[in-house]
């Protein structure tokens, strides 16, 4: 009989080995896929790497793509740790970007030293409030947060679309639906050739790591995630902690939105989030909800996106091929997680019984 049984907690090496096997398998599958397109897989891979690291400019581009992904994933991490399935990152990014843009457009002449901090705060509040709404109903009525946060994404998207095509439309853009560019005071400055978002990102990685591991609140969040009953029994105010944690989660996503709007697109647009909110869920999950690993996985994802864009021009392989690649890697890695938690036991029914009786004896 085939039986699936739970493994004891696997060692770090085992976990890494399983993940690496999955990625290798995914690459084997992708290789077959690229071969079927009639290309040499190795030159395609090589050119993807070239697209990411071939020049300083391309490397910077890869880092720029890593930043929002990593920060949003950190936000998702905080929520997922307490088993609050926040899949509203996309909307929280947009609303963070929206509120930050509000100040950027309203006070274009404010000195940069004041405006940028104000926009950062606004971005965090915007994203935080957008997450707080579902969290409030979850805490009060037990409303399903997965579906609620998902719906909030679309409301945010329509809201920004409305602004872009309606009241905030740039009158000087010759009818083209875009929101005016920010003044230079509202643009995050560059440090070593890359916008300062990378410093914020690294600080946040460290901050979230320390917060989750060493702070009382971080500990409480993990306990609630493990078992709400335990948390209640220990006298924690579960509702209050939920609200605080989810506000943090949304605030991080909103901050990612502010950075994108300020540093990358220099304005608010519906492309500010561009699916990062969804990809971040996958990144957070594949990282095993660990802040330092999020940095690594985000970078790998950014490599895929950046490299995918590059092979489009180099090989005339449509960018959707990179998307397929991404999907395949995801599926292999997701499937592999099973082997870190369970093992398959092949035994005859009889010997199984014997073992049981032997144990009793």
């Amino acid at each position: 009989m085939l039986r699936i049984i739970k493994k004891p907690e696997p060692s770090k090496q085992q976990l890494v080995a399983i993940k690496i096997t999955a990625v290798v398998l995914a690459f084997v599958a992708s290789t077959v896929f690229i071969l079927s397109l009639g290309h040499n897989p190795f030159s395609v891979y090589f050119s993807m790497l070239e697209g990411c690291f071939g020049s300083l400019y391309r490397f910077n581009e890869t880092v720029v793509k890593t930043i929002p992904l990593a920060i949003t994933s950190l936000g998702i991490l905080v929520a997922f740790k307490m088993k609050f399935w926040n899949i509203g990152g996309e909307g929280q990014i947009l609303m963070g970007a929206f509120l930050a843009s509000f100040f950027a457009l309203k006070f274009p002449d404010m000195p940069i030293g004041l405006l940028i901090p104000l926009m950062i705060a606004a971005g965090m509040v915007g994203g935080g409030i957008w997450a707080l709404i579902p969290a409030f109903f979850k805490a009060r009525l037990g409303t399903n947060e997965t579906l609620f946060t998902l719906m909030m994404n679309y409301i945010a998207l329509q809201w920004v679309t409305y602004l872009q095509y309606g009241p905030w439309k740039d009158p000087n853009a010759l009818g083209f639906p875009k929101i005016p560019n920010f003044s230079s005071n509202a643009v995050l400055p560059s440090v070593f050739g890359i916008h300062a978002g990378w410093i914020i990102c690294l600080l946040l990685i460290a901050g979230v790591y320390v917060f989750m591991k060493y702070s009382k609140k971080g500990f409480e969040i993990s306990v609630i995630g493990e078992s709400e009953t335990t948390a209640l029994y220990a006298g924690m105010n579960v509702k209050k902690i939920t609200l605080i944690a989810i506000f943090m989660s949304g605030a991080l996503c909103g901050l990612a939105g502010m950075i994108q709007a300020s540093a990358v697109s220099n304005t608010l647009s519906i492309e500010v989030a561009g699916g990062v909110g969804y990809t971040a869920i996958i990144v957070a999950w594949l990282s095993g909800l660990s802040a330092p690993i999020i940095l690594l996985v985000s970078f790998l994802f950014a490599t895929l996106v950046q490299g995918g864009a590059y092979i489009q021009t180099a090989f005339q392989i449509p960018q959707s091929a990179a998307q397929i690649l991404q999907g395949m890697i995801l599926i292999f890695v997701l499937g592999s997680e099973f082997f870190s938690k369970y093992k398959i036991d092949i035994k005859k029914e009889k010997s199984n019984n014997n073992e049981d009786s032997a144990r009793i004896a």
């Binding site: 699936i4 049984i5 739970k6 399935w85 899949i87 109903f137 009525l141 037990g142 409303t143 399903n144 997965t146 579906l147 609620f148 998902l150 719906m151 909030m152 679309y154 409301i155 329509q158 809201w159 679309t161 409305y162 095509y165 309606g166 969804y278 869920i281 996958i282 999950w285 449509p318 959707s320 091929a321 990179a322 998307q323 397929i324 690649l325 991404q326 999907g327 395949m328 995801l330 599926i331 997701l334 499937g335 997680e337 099973f338 938690k341 369970y342």
Partner: protein, 310 residues
């Protein structure tokens, strides 16, 4: 007259939503939350269109779409049921994969139009007697065969859930898999079958878009309808009969903006586009506030079932 033509158009706009919603209801009744609906619809849209273009045969086009959806859903089932992967993450990955495959395959289809044999087959057909009922006739019964198939699928799902033994078993699997397991129901088999059938139906919704509604190939034909379907499942409280009404209602919301423009009413289309999601949230809150068992999501929704965990 304008109202009737609007309602008939709402039915047409609601049809892709109805297929996908009923498909997702079937999936969720087995306790699985598949957020890959958008990806599955796109797979169905591209497979149906491609097969239709090659064969000019409507039946083969439909079968192609069904198979594509079933294949996509099988991946989801294998990962979440057998390998117990997280359902939310797996569903999102499926959407990424489906979107990628559809836009990749669709590259060569860009700008192509559905062959005449198929568009003729799916042209509006007046059902004798029913079609001549005033008001309701022109709205519901002077439509494409594909639309009638939608009614049929929804009604069949309703009968299956509420009137058959198998449907009852399915609901037990979704509510309490441990109890189902103890009473001798093959939980794994039920989950697999319903995820796959549900996925195939989602794909059919996509095929309706590319073969009948548009009917030509364009990038991202679904444009977020898969997500609306996820919302509709909640809005119709996991009930396929209510799904019929709500799909038509949401279909109406989808097209009302363009029709309103004629009357110079100062409501932005983008505000109207928000309504489906706001309505869904209101329903979500109302359902959780009432705490009535009947209208709630299946209890084990989103949780993997593992016998040894009991």
């Amino acid at each position: 007259m304008a109202l009737i033509s609007f309602l008939a158009a709402a039915v047409q706009a609601g049809m892709p939503l109805l297929f996908a919603t009923v498909g997702e209801i079937i999936t969720e009744k087995s306790g699985n939350l598949n957020l890959g609906v958008e990806g599955l619809m796109l797979l169905g849209a591209v497979a149906g269109f491609q097969v239709g273009l090659i064969t000019s045969n409507p039946f083969l086009a439909i079968i192609g779409a069904l198979l594509a959806g079933a294949a996509g859903a099988f991946i989801f089932a294998f990962l979440t049921v057998t390998l117990r992967a997280n359902q939310v993450v797996t569903g999102l990955s499926l959407t990424i994969l489906g979107t990628g495959v559809a836009s990749f395959t669709g590259q060569s289809l860009m700008g192509q139009v559905v062959p005449e044999g198929i568009s003729k087959f799916f042209a509006a057909v007046n059902i004798p007697l029913l079609g001549s009922i005033p008001f309701i006739g022109p709205m519901l019964f002077q439509q494409s065969i594909f639309v009638y198939m939608g009614y049929l699928v929804a009604i069949a799902a309703g009968v299956y859930f509420y009137k058959t033994r198998l449907g009852l078993n399915l609901r037990v699997v979704g509510e309490n898999p441990a109890a189902a397991d103890a009473s001798g129901i093959n939980v794994t088999l039920y989950k697999y079958v319903h995820i796959i059938v549900g996925g195939a139906l989602c794909a059919l919704g996509g095929a309706y878009l590319s073969l009948v509604y548009i009917p030509s190939w364009q990038e991202n034909v679904t444009s977020g309808r898969g997500w609306i379907a996820v919302a509709l499942v909640i809005f119709s409280m996991w009930n396929p009969y209510k799904a019929m009404l709500s799909a038509i209602f949401f279909g109406g919301l989808d097209i009302v903006g363009f029709r309103i423009q004629k009357f110079d009413i100062a409501i932005s289309q983008y505000m109207i586009d928000m309504l489906p999601y706001i309505a869904t949230i209101v329903v979500l809150i109302a359902v959780s506030a009432k705490k009535s068992k009947e209208n709630m999501a299946p209890q084990s929704l989103g949780e993997p079932y593992f016998r040894e965990d009991r």
